[in-house]
Symmetry: C2
Subunit: 478 residues, 2 copies
């Protein structure tokens, strides 16, 4: 039968071919499927449920902080995109253009939104009049399109899902505080829920968002030592507000421009989860976003009472956890492998012998640790084991990042580290974009961020030897 033919095949070991390992996981854990549309994917139920869980966590947090959801148009007229000079330069080369509606050519081309600053500004210009209208704290959940040439599931695709927050404030200080606050929200999601340690910092001018005065970022390290920019938060000053003629009457009756931020986190983070936690048996999901937190596998399920017991435990656990019984006719071994592939954080085994002892077995996906648990205290034990999975994943990822981060003082050391050791390089920088470009040319790395937590590794720039302004993280990136 077809279902039984579908074996749990081994995936390519990551040491052998990291890119293939990644592709094997996204396909075999049934996170996505390729489509007939270049660079666009189907996010399958199991992958989409992860995104829904991330959505729920962030959406609740945004609302607690006073943000409101809205919906902006999918299209941006060309003239609107062109209003802010730096912004259009950054995005115009990578947008999809609608040129025909029905049977008629359009008088003005529309691009499919690559990001929505221009649309929010167009709206804010109409609705902001007084300091009493501020702040405006809007967010939208949507998909955007960037015409990327080379695409990879979740990491870089022509269409991707995200949320984009766009806020307007009375003062620069308030807007800057919002920019920092939202970066913290992203960092907390990553570290506390997704178990992904991140470095918080500021992008260099070269790497910042098109049109922003300042871009904050959180950077995570993947298994292969490469960086994943996992969320960004931008401060725009009043640049867009001037370009879009957004004004308000201030407390002193003067006419002012508001100060603006935007911030986004995308389905890319699902790629980050895979490449931070996954192993050669498949995906490993942090419990907070796992579509199934506990998979119940009945052992010797044909024996009297086993399936009933499994379902009884499911009913109990369902009140608190996302739980499922697999009562299919596959063997327990097949099921073990299947749910390991899918990264379910906790497996609960229950068979006749366990039932005799009024216990069950809990096995953690992350480290295979097995615990025998009296059924009386099951809920508590599951909660503890899930928390242990989260803590263990975070600790492991943090230790890996520490062990793959190198401080260098000279250009030779920099080159040597970049050539031979995958990971992050910490080095001092003078602030000159020329040095940034030279490091890219000679070592193949980009600046990841100027971290908030600075260290004085040396007094001079690793590249030019002039006085250093800041310590910077460098690395190869997705």
């Amino acid at each position: 039968m077809a279902e039984q033919k579908k074996m749990v095949e081994a995936i390519t070991p990551m040491e052998e071919d990291f890119a293939q390992w990644y592709t094997d996981i996204v396909k075999k854990a049934e996170l996505m499927d390729y489509t007939s549309v270049r660079g666009c994917m189907v996010i399958e139920p199991y992958g989409y449920a992860i995104w829904e869980n991330i959505h729920d966590i962030l959406d609740r947090r945004f609302k607690e902080l006073g943000h409101q959801n809205v919906s902006m148009p999918l299209f941006i007229p060309e003239s609107l995109l062109q209003k802010e000079k730096d912004h259009v330069e950054g995005f115009a080369p990578e947008v999809a253009w609608v040129t025909q509606g029905g049977n008629e050519p359009l008088q003005e081309r529309l691009c499919v939104r690559p990001t929505s600053e221009t649309l929010f500004c167009d709206h804010y210009a109409r609705i902001i009049h007084s300091w009493r209208d501020l702040p405006k704290l809007y967010n939208q959940w949507c998909s955007v399109v960037r015409w990327e040439k080379t695409t990879r599931p979740f990491l870089r695709s022509v269409e991707f899902h995200w949320q984009e927050g766009h806020t307007m404030h009375e003062t620069a200080e308030e807007a800057k505080a919002e920019t920092e606050q939202m970066l913290r929200v992203y960092a907390e999601l990553c570290e506390n829920q997704l178990a992904i340690p991140v470095i918080k910092g500021r992008k260099t001018d070269k790497e910042k968002f098109a049109g922003a005065e300042m871009t904050y970022t959180i950077e995570a390290m993947m298994h292969d030592g490469k960086a994943l920019q996992s969320g960004t938060s931008h401060y725009f000053g009043d640049g867009f507000a001037r370009a879009f003629d957004i004004t308000f009457q201030g407390r002193d009756n003067s006419i002012c421009h508001p100060y603006q931020t935007s911030w986004g986190l995308s389905t890319r983070i699902i790629g980050g989860i895979i490449m931070t936690h996954g192993d050669n048996d498949g995906l490993i999901l942090p419990p907070a976003v796992a579509p199934i937190q506990v998979i119940i596998v009945p052992v010797a399920q044909h024996k009297p009472g086993v399936l009933e017991k499994a379902r009884e435990l499911e009913r109990r656990l369902r009140k608190t956890f996302r739980v499922k019984v697999d009562d299919s006719d596959q063997s327990p071994g097949w099921k073990f492998a299947q749910y390991e592939m899918k990264g379910v954080p906790l497996r609960l085994e229950i068979g006749p012998k366990d039932m005799e002892k009024d216990q069950c077995v809990l096995v953690r996906r992350s480290d295979r640790r097995k615990t025998f648990v009296p059924l009386g205290g099951l809920e508590q034990a599951v909660a503890e084991q899930l928390e242990a999975v989260r803590g263990g994943l975070f600790q492991k990822a943090l230790e890996r990042r520490e062990s793959m981060t190198y401080s260098v003082r000279t250009l030779d050391e920099f080159r040597e580290a970049a050539d031979s050791k995958p990971g992050f390089i910490k080095a001092m920088w003078c602030g000159d974009p020329a040095c940034e470009e030279k490091l890219r040319d000679v070592a193949g790395v980009s600046s990841r961020c100027i971290p908030f937590e600075q260290e004085q590794i040396a007094d001079t720039c690793v590249c030019c030897g002039k006085k250093a302004k800041a310590m910077v993280y460098w690395g190869k990136a997705y």
Copy 2:
């Protein structure tokens, strides 16, 4: 000050100009804003929160019934859209075409999805192999684009939000049962949550969805007697499955085509809420989807203890209801009018005199009925009043529909009803599309549906006098 200048202006009475009344409400209740993009709107926070509440109710119900959310691409390659003949004929004239990506013209045009049958079929062809893979019960929440020439907020726009369910089944019977089940889910949402009575029925061949064998619909009557098609559910047989070469190995090892459904409900229903319940003071929201269910207005709020009491009641009610205190410095009268405009179902007034008596006042938006409530039993009273609002709204809408529905037996009666009485016309029909077209020509109405609940008004077709096959609802429609 700007905030105080912003008065609660009266809206155009619906008897004077129904279209303007509608437009006034969507603008003054801050549901949406126009944009620089023709036919596309901003859904503002208050409007979007209504959609989020509808989303939550339906999404929970879909999942209870075993459906899973996915995400399909935004784009459909022209060759994919063309695979099913009737479907492409229906949709090709009203799609937006992407012809350029970045700086390069595309080799094949992509349309922005007007609906996603073709994308789901493309995916299902890859993942359905055995009867064990069925049913597939997928849904997606997204926006779609139809290049409409004349647009109106929520009712007809170039881009609109909806959910589209797309399912595949082993047998025709199962697929038909799914089609019927999902229509029931929509009808329950409308009647039980939105307080909108609907007529469930089948579309005539002329009015059915492009490519469907059968389209079921729920039709609601608006204040002005016009019909709003409020949700549809389609049965496709195996037409698309054949066009897309979707096959599975059946239980008897034969190669079969699966049977398909799709069903959708959109932000159009927000227009339906406005035009079913609203009055000349503004919006009236059914409690189940109202962003604010209870607005607390402190009276004489400068008096000691009033604001504290209002906030205490808010904290109590917040556990069960969506509640807000308006403690701004506007007058109570201004606030009353403002939240009537926004359709908040229940107003809670609390002032020094109420506090002395340990009571508060509850006022229903729907019928202005005022109740004095001892604070001890407040939660219970609020729940009862909200339920009374829902019941009252439904009853009123039902009575209006009944009073504006006319049974006719002859073509003259039909014409007279269509010309002079806004509302629904019930009349017998022979089943011939020629009669349907004639009725449109002579009376300006379309067939709304062949209702599941049939009545034998006469034995002959109201148009041609031949033997009647069914009783049909006719009317003008949005």
